[in-house]
Subunit: 409 residues, 2 copies
C-alpha cells in the first residue's frame, strides 16, 4: 500500500481550483481557452517536477509517463480531465487528475517502481460545452471520432477547434491514438449524483456507465396574434411541447428504477408575450443501465410527441441525435478497486455511473474501471459542487492503490 | 354618400406596402426606423397634396386637417398607424391610414365640405415591438402615459425613443395632447381574427375591446446534471412550467366563449440538453370582454402555478405586468357605423376586438368607434396577413361615410 501526502494533495487541489476560478467558488475553465492553457502549463510543470516523461498528442491530450521496472510491460493509464463546464465546480474531472498526479509524486518521492509503467493523462475537452461533442479528446484517441473532423468543429464564435488548440500551444506531435497496448485505464471522478452519500459510503466502485438516447423534437403550429385568435382556432406549438414535457417527467417511472428522462433545452419562436408560438424545439435525454429500457424510452417519447401533436393540431418532427450503449467495466478492475477499498478500511458502495466519462471511450480500447468520490447533495456542474477533503482523499487513495496493485501484479 | 376612388385607394395601399417591404410580401417597418421615416415622408406629402394643414406633435403623431364649413366645430378624428410588427403584414394599421387619406382626397377632389373639420392621424409606435409599450403615441396623446417617461424608453440596442424620433426628423413642436375638443374618433383596422370571415360578413362593426391580464411566472428549482440525478431528487423548473402551460390551454374553456389564454414567451436556464433546468420564466396573457372573467383567469393561473410548483417541489413567483379593463365604444358611433353599412348594402357583423388598438386610449378622450376589415384566415402580424381589395374597399367606404355622416350632423 502507498500513502499519498494528504497535505500536498489538498494543496494541489486548491492550486488548480484557482486557475479559472469564479467569484462564487466555482470554476469556469472551458476547453482551449486561456484558462485551459494556464492549467495545462501548470499541470505540465507538475508532471516534469515528478520526473515524468511528458508528451502531448495532436489533439492536445497530455500524457506523463512514470517508467516501470519493466518498461516494455503494458502500462497502467490513469486520468481524467482539467476542463470545466461554464460556471462549473472545482472538483469534477480535476479531482481525478490531481489524484493521478499525487500518485506519481508519491511513487517518485518514495522511489517506488512498480513493474508496469504508469501513465497519467489529461483528456482534452471532456465537457463538450464549448466544442461538441463531450469526451472529445478520449473519443478521438480511442478511435471513436475522426481527428480531422473534430479539428473543424467550431465554438459559438465560429472559431475552429484546431485554431484554438494551436493558439494555446497544445497541438502536439504525438499521434492521438494508443501507440502501445495498455493494461488498464482507471479514472477517478466525483459521482455527480446522490447514491454514495445516501448509502453513507466513503467511496464508490463503479461497475459501468448507463446508456442513453438524446434527441430533438420540433413542433410546428401556427403563429398568430394571441388576442383575436379563438382557442379552437389555435395550433399552439408550445402547448404540444409542454404536453410532452410533462409526459417525459412520467416516462421513467414506468420503465425502471434507474431510468431518468429530462428536457434540458427549449426554444420557442417567435417567443413574444403577444403571439401564439408557431414553432418550438426541445431536447429529450433518457438514460438507463439497460439498453432495452433506453430503447423503450425512445419509443415512448416518439409516441407521446405524436399524440401531443395530434391533440393540438400541430406537426412534429423528431430526430435521435445520439444513442450510446451502456458500458460494463472490466470485472478485474471492479474487483481490484473493491478489494483495495476493503484493505484501506473504507466503506464502499457499488454503483453504475449516470453520466458519461472519458472511461466510456477507453472501455473500447482496454480494461477499464472507475472510482467515484462522494458528491454532497449530488450537485455538480455548478459552483455548489462539493466533496469533503476526507472523501477526496479516500477516493484518491483507492485509485492510487488500485493502480499500483495492477501495475505490480 | 361619398364614393372613394377605388383604383387610387388600391394604388395608395400598394405604394405604402413597398416602403419597408420584405421579400415574402410582408412589411418590416418598425417605429422610428429609416423605413418609418420614409413612410412618414410619403404620408406627409400625400396629406399636403390633399390640401391638408399638417402638424406633427412632440411625440411624432402626425395630424392632417381638412377644414370644416364651421372651423370652430369639434372635429372628427380618423386614423390608425403606419408602423408594423417585425416581419408583419402590409394591411394591419396601414389600411386605416390609407382609408383616412382616401377619404380626405375624395372630399378635396369633389370639393365636399362637411360642417365639422375632419382630421386624419398617424399614431406613433402602435405595435410596441421596438419600443414598449404598444399604442404608445396614442397613449401619450390621451394622457395615459407621461411624455418624458416615454421619451426615455430604449430599444434592444439601448437607443432612446427621443433620440430616434429626433433622428428621423419627426419630433414636432405641437403639444402631444388634445388641443381642442374632438367630436369622435373613428378607426379602421383589419380584424386579425376569424369572426367576420366565418360570418361571411363584408365588414365589421366593432362594439368594444376586450380587457386583459398579462403577467410573468418564474419557477425556480435545482439545476443539476441530467444523468446521475434520480427522478425523485429533481426539482425541475421546466416541468412545473410545462404543467402550467397545459393548464393555461384549458382555463379559457372553463370561463367564457370569448376567453383566450396564451403562453407566448418561455425562457429556460441554463437551457442545455444535459442539465435539469433550474429556472424558467414564462408569460401569461388572458383576454375577455368581461373584466370579471379576466380577474377569474388571473386567479386561476396563480392557483395553477402554485399547485404546479408544489407538485414539482420548486418555488414560483408571479407578477401581473399589465391589466387593462375592457372598452365599450360610444353607442352613437356604433349606430352610425352600423347604419352606414346598411345604406352601403354591406353585410355587417358586430363584434368585439380581441386585440388592443389606438382606439383603446382614444375612448378615454372622446366618443370612439371602429370598423373592422375581414382578415383571411384571421392571420395577422405575419406576411400571410391578407384582406381582399373588395373587403379593404368595403371597410374604407364604411369608415369614410360614417365619418362624413358624423361630420355633417
Amino acid at each position: 500500500m502507498i500513502k499519498l501526502d494528504r497535505d500536498r494533495f489538498i494543496e494541489l487541489m486548491v492550486e488548480q481550483s484557482e486557475i479559472g476560478a469564479t467569484d462564487d467558488g466555482g470554476l469556469h475553465r472551458l476547453a482551449l481557452t486561456d484558462a485551459d492553457r494556464q492549467i495545462r502549463d501548470w499541470f505540465r510543470e507538475k508532471m516534469e517536477d515528478a520526473g515524468l516523461d511528458v508528451r502531448i498528442d495532436e489533439f492536445g491530450n497530455m500524457f506523463g509517463r512514470y517508467e516501470g521496472a519493466e518498461p516494455d510491460a503494458a502500462p497502467v493509464l490513469v486520468g481524467s480531465h482539467l476542463d470545466s463546464q461554464p460556471k462549473g465546480g472545482s472538483y469534477d474531472g480535476a479531482l481525478g487528475i490531481i489524484a493521478a498526479l499525487e500518485l506519481v509524486l508519491t511513487l517518485h518521492d518514495n522511489e517506488i517502481r512498480p513493474t508496469r509503467p504508469i501513465e497519467i493523462v489529461n483528456w482534452t475537452n471532456e465537457e463538450g460545452s464549448r466544442f461538441q461533442p463531450a469526451m472529445q479528446g478520449s473519443g478521438v484517441w480511442a478511435g471513436e471520432h475522426d481527428l480531422e473532423t473534430e479539428y473543424t468543429k467550431t465554438d459559438s464564435e465560429g472559431t475552429t477547434f484546431e485554431d484554438e488548440l494551436d493558439r494555446i500551444g497544445y497541438k502536439g506531435d504525438v499521434p492521438a491514438e494508443p501507440t502501445e497496448n495498455y493494461d488498464v485505464y482507471l479514472e477517478l471522478h466525483v459521482e455527480q449524483g446522490p447514491y454514495l452519500e445516501d448509502a453513507n459510503a466513503d467511496v464508490g466502485v463503479v461497475t459501468g456507465i448507463v446508456g442513453f438516447s438524446w434527441g430533438e423534437l420540433t413542433f410546428t403550429g401556427e403563429s398568430d396574434h394571441s388576442g383575436p385568435t379563438p382557442m379552437h382556432y389555435r395550433s399552439d406549438a408550445l402547448v404540444a411541447a409542454a404536453d410532452v414535457i410533462t409526459r417525459i417527467r412520467r416516462i421513467p417511472g414506468t420503465l425502471g428504477e434507474r431510468t431518468v428522462g429530462t428536457v434540458g433545452y427549449i426554444d420557442a419562436t417567435p417567443n413574444s408575450v403577444n403571439v401564439i408560438p408557431g414553432e418550438v424545439t426541445l431536447t429529450w435525454g433518457f438514460r438507463d443501465p439497460d439498453d432495452a429500457v433506453v430503447q423503450r424510452a425512445y419509443e415512448n417519447v416518439v409516441r407521446e410527441a405524436r399524440a401531443a401533436a395530434e391533440r393540438e393540431g400541430v406537426d412534429v418532427e423528431y430526430e435521435e441525435t445520439m444513442r450510446a450503449s451502456s458500458v460494463e467495466f472490466a470485472p478485474r478492475c471492479i474487483e481490484t478497486i473493491q478489494s483495495t477499498t476493503t484493505d484501506l478500511g473504507y466503506d464502499s458502495e457499488r454503483l453504475i455511473s449516470g453520466a458519461g466519462h472519458d472511461a466510456t471511450h477507453l472501455a473500447s480500447v482496454t480494461d477499464t474501471g472507475m472510482v467515484f468520490a462522494v458528491s454532497e447533495d449530488g450537485k455538480s456542474h455548478s459552483p455548489e459542487e462539493y466533496t469533503s477533503w476526507d472523501d477526496c482523499y479516500a477516493a484518491a487513495m483507492t485509485l492510487s492503490n488500485a493502480a499500483v496493485r495492477i501495475a505490480t501484479e
